[in-house]
């Protein structure tokens, strides 16, 4: 399978063709924003299993830059704590730029205050790490509703 590593590790603007969409016939594009390579790999794999193509970047600033140059994503999975620019700041900037993708916080922190502050930055939902198949199913349903 050609798609595999290339899409995950590069910031290339081209959405790779040829990923055979699986059962769900999804044409949704996803951006995974997380500073932990383990999480990026894991989430990428989870999404692949649903036939979703994911690009991955390692901090909020890279996510903002990508969107700034015109990349469009249906779903953005945003980690909260990252170097350079964290999830909350990145989310605020993206919303200020007019990005109306589904932005979902994925965090390993529990404090209700922190989650609240993150939600207020402009998230649609906030989940605890890591992503699981049911959470993805739920998000797909949301995406299908909105499109």
């Amino acid at each position: 399978m050609v798609l595999g590593k290339g899409a995950s590790s590069s910031l290339s603007m081209k959405m790779a063709d040829g990923a055979e969409d699986m059962v769900n016939n999804n044409n949704f594009t996803v951006l995974v924003v997380d500073d932990d390579p383990l999480i990026r790999k894991l989430h990428d794999m989870h999404l692949k299993n649903f036939g979703l193509r994911a690009q991955v970047v390692e901090n909020g600033k890279k996510a903002v830059d990508l969107c700034h140059v015109g990349a469009n994503f249906n779903l953005i999975l945003m980690d909260r704590e990252m170097p350079v620019m964290n999830g909350a700041e990145a989310t605020k900037e993206l919303r200020a730029m007019g990005v109306n993708s589904l932005i979902v916080g994925v965090t390993s922190c529990g404090s209700p205050n922190e989650k609240q502050a993150f939600m207020e930055a402009g998230l649609d939902y906030c989940f605890e790490k890591p992503l699981t198949p049911d959470k993805i199913t739920f998000l797909l349903q949301e995406l299908n509703k909105n499109n």
Binding site: M1, D35, D36, P37, L38, I39, K41, L42, M45, H46, N49, E81, S108, C109, K129, P130, T132, P133
Partner: protein, 149 residues
Amino acid sequence: MDVVQLQRQLVDYRTSLYHEGFLDEQFTQLQELQDENNPHFVVEVVSLFFEDSERHLNELTTALEQQSVDFRRVDAHVHQLKGSSSSIGAQRVQQVCIAFRNYCEEQNVEGCLECLQQVKHEYSLVKTKLESMFQLEQQILTAGGSIPM
């Protein structure tokens, strides 16, 4: 040892790891993500976990040796370790990280040092167990068998 015996040994070993709290449901999810297109996924992710963890443990050791401890730095590493251990299902490591973060918040050096020892211990245990498990799996494959789910 024949394949059937090896397979049984593997299943028993895996079960014990869950029972003893070394692994949790997240690890099962990891295994379910592996398929013919990505036959080495679990080993790859676990290897990443080992690399990550060792790096964090080294940083933590250095950070806690300083005259004046930078708790934000310590917390940042524990946070990452907690995240990655919970993602692969290394439950006992994750649990120590939770206590560790509390000590960070309290800026309690003694408590942090204790947790660091504990987390190193739990990490090395789970690493050994996972490596043994992978070895068993390899033996089965070499003997021509398949890995039981």
